[in-house]
Amino acid sequence: MNSVYLDANASYGSLEEILSELTPWYNKLFNPNAIHSVGQEVMAAIESSREALAELSGCSLRDFRIVFNSGATEANNTAFNLCFERGGATFEKGTPTRQSDYQIVTSAIEHPSVLALVDHLHLKCGINSKLVFPDGASRFTAESFLRHISDSTRIVSLMFANNETGEILPVAEIAREIKTRYPNVLIHCDAVQGLGKVKQDFSALGVDMLSFSGHKLGGFPGVGALILKRGIECVPFIRGGSQESRWRAGTQNSPGILSFGLACKYVRENLDARIEGMEQRKSRFIELLGEMVPGVEFNLFGEKQIPNTLNLRLPGLSAADLLVALDLERVYASAGSACSSGKPLAAEALVASGLLPEQAKSSLRFSWRADEPMENFEYATRVIKQIVAQMGGIHGEAEQNHVA
């Protein structure tokens, strides 16, 4: 039974290659914060994982602090929270206490863990937020961000690469311009979809905080990291014990952290081959779709995209139904995020990116691992072709020329 996993942006799936190094830990996962040696051994492995993430991301532990937590959602929450908590990094003594005086600026295509958080901060604390939408073909520029930033801006957040479309944002250029004009603004980058997919020194982006996720790289789910420039004052989001240098209370998720660290190590050693593998699959998939599925449209945004993601639309067909049909043929893809009940929502990031809601509703996201067998892309394309026929074919859409 053929099955094709094309949802690596949701979860990469744990790397086979790290399993043999993980299994010996199974019955040795004692409390890493304990005085005794068996606990210290776990702590040493956690520190190695920190080192491995530092090396893969380029954020050296001399200049950055790496805090392990439950995932990028927690990392994003922590990053925003520390900007608005009294005593936090950006509250100088004697500054106004009214939080409504403060402001957040983010791109409009951020992950829900940022956008929903921004909504919450607005409702709960009255903190204003400005969303930066892409500006035609020039997409996201420093200028488009600076238009919204003012002295009251505490934090600017922009993602490295969009999870739905794979669009890479020019974070370094934007951050540089912002820092020149507003040196006190904290800049946060949700870089989850960039790690292990491009050759990038993330310290060179010039941002203050970065969020990463373990299972998007090839580790276990339930582990992530917030990377902070040294000097940012400690404001834990989850309070309790003094684990992770007081930054994150609660006993560390040691199996998760170890899997994350081992994935970082493996990916760093094989980065070129991994990126090349992803790129080859992308070219092949685009080629196959072009040949076999006439009428398919590609949702390509920005100058550069990560190499493992392809967002496409099948005009006139419903993404929700397509996903079911694909699943029944064991082709696993996605469209938008899923809410708790499992009901798929039209990808809001696609609309924010510039699609019409109707186009977003017929858009699917395919994202693959570097080692997904090549022939699986042929199988997937044949299945897409067959489903399109079964659903009555692609209906031409009235092109409105709004896609950059």
């Binding site: 139904d321 049909a325 029944l328 499992g342 009901k343 489903i387 079964q390």
Partner: protein, 380 residues
């Protein structure tokens, strides 16, 4: 099973209750490839009603359905039907109440959403038939497909299914239709299905949080007005006409009378409830609109534009035993019926379903039309 022609992939509507759970399990055992689908028709997070009283379509019910699907080993999905459900069921429900009638949303949900849209969408991924956990049966005869009451008369749900199209019956399965409820529960228990002992759903799913609140939010029917006699003499105040149904005796709120009072008519224009003695409620005949003939012969006959008459058993509400009537179909397609022996309360807006004289087969049905006998409009 009478459907020899159906093979392979079948969509089975799973509410998270025991009947549809067992239906899915039986299909799997019979060698079909059931695909479980729950229909999200109402967003409880947005519209309220997320408490334990919600009877289906709540996140908890989806969790139950998902567990059952995993247990019996079939794929399972949640489909969003919110938009069409609002348009085709809820809007009509609200509108019917606004007109002073008593709606029957389950009929609309079955006809327009479950057996039409679900079928259409499922055909897109290769499902040729739709199955549900309804207590009803489909029988193939020479003349075509016939819709019958479920074997368990106490649980029979054929009343809610009269709107199905005959050609749809050919691709519809009711796997528990031959069973009684006890057997269904027993099968669920034996198989260890997590829904085996789940209580029956009673309320209309989307007003599980309370009909009064729902109507208050969506209509202006829930304002006080007068309860009057047939002569227009005020007796008391009511707290909203939608709290009343024609034929209702209890809870009218007029005490101290020798003869019990019944709701005779609801007058939305004047926001009045007209009450009277039981005799005043009596009527010998009634009219039915939005008729759908399910029986192939009657359907054929009705298409000829020739008037015809026949005798049938009319069921006028859920759990009504049915009474003998003489049905006449006019050349225009209009349908009226007159009671043969005893009469029964006619609540406008409710479904009138005609069964054969054995009270076994659904011949067709429609909506009871309002009749203004006592309101101002009638006396003018």
């Amino acid at each position: 099973m009478s459907h020899d022609s159906i093979t392979g992939r079948i969509v089975v509507a799973m509410s998270g209750g025991v009947d549809s759970s067992v239906a899915a399990m039986l299909l799997k055992q019979q060698g079909y490839e059931p695909v479980g689908v729950s229909m999200q028709v109402w967003d409880y997070r947005k519209n309220g009603g997320c408490d334990s009283r919600a009877t289906c379509c709540s996140p908890d019910d989806f969790t139950d359905a998902r567990k059952v699907a995993a247990k019996i080993g079939i794929p399972y999905y949640v489909f969003d039907f919110e938009e069409s459900f609002r348009e085709k069921v809820i809007d009509k429900f609200i509108d019917t109440y606004k007109r002073g009638l008593t709606p029957n949303p389950c009929v609309d949900c079955n006809n327009k959403v479950k057996f039409r849209e679900l079928r259409d969408r499922a055909s897109g991924f290769g499902c040729k038939a739709v199955a549900t956990g309804h207590f009803a049966r489909v029988e193939k005869r020479e003349s075509g497909y016939h819709l019958l009451r479920g074997c368990d008369r106490a649980k029979d749900q054929s009343y809610f299914l009269y709107g199905v199209q005959p050609e749809e019956l050919a691709n519809t399965l009711f796997p528990v239709g031959e069973m009684n409820k006890t057997e269904v529960r027993q099968l669920a228990e034996e198989a260890g299905l997590p829904t085996a002992s789940k209580p029956e759903s009673q309320d209309i799913c989307f007003v599980a949080g309370g009909l009064r609140d729902f109507l208050k939010r969506h209509t202006d029917n829930m304002r006080s007005g007068l309860i009057v006699t047939t002569e227009g003499v005020p007796l008391a105040e009511h707290d909203g006409i939608s709290n009343f149904t024609v034929g209702q005796r209890k809870g009218i709120g007029v005490g101290g009378r020798q003869q019990p009072l019944y709701v005779l008519e609801i007058d939305p224009d004047d926001n009045r409830v007209i009450v009277g003695a039981k005799e005043d409620l009596e009527q010998r005949d009634f009219k039915v609109g939005e008729i759908n003939w399910v029986n192939p012969d009657l359907r054929q006959k009705s298409s000829t534009a020739q008037p015809f008459t026949f005798e049938a058993i009319a069921q006028l509400r859920h759990r009504h035993a049915g009474v003998p009537v003489a049905v006449s179909v006019l050349a225009s397609g209009e349908v009226s019926a007159s009671f043969i022996d005893s009469w029964s309360t006619v609540s406008p807006g409710q479904a009138a379903v005609f069964y054969d004289q054995e009270n076994r087969e659904v011949l067709g049905g429609g909506r009871l039309l309002p009749q203004s006998r006592y309101s101002r409009e009638a006396t003018q």
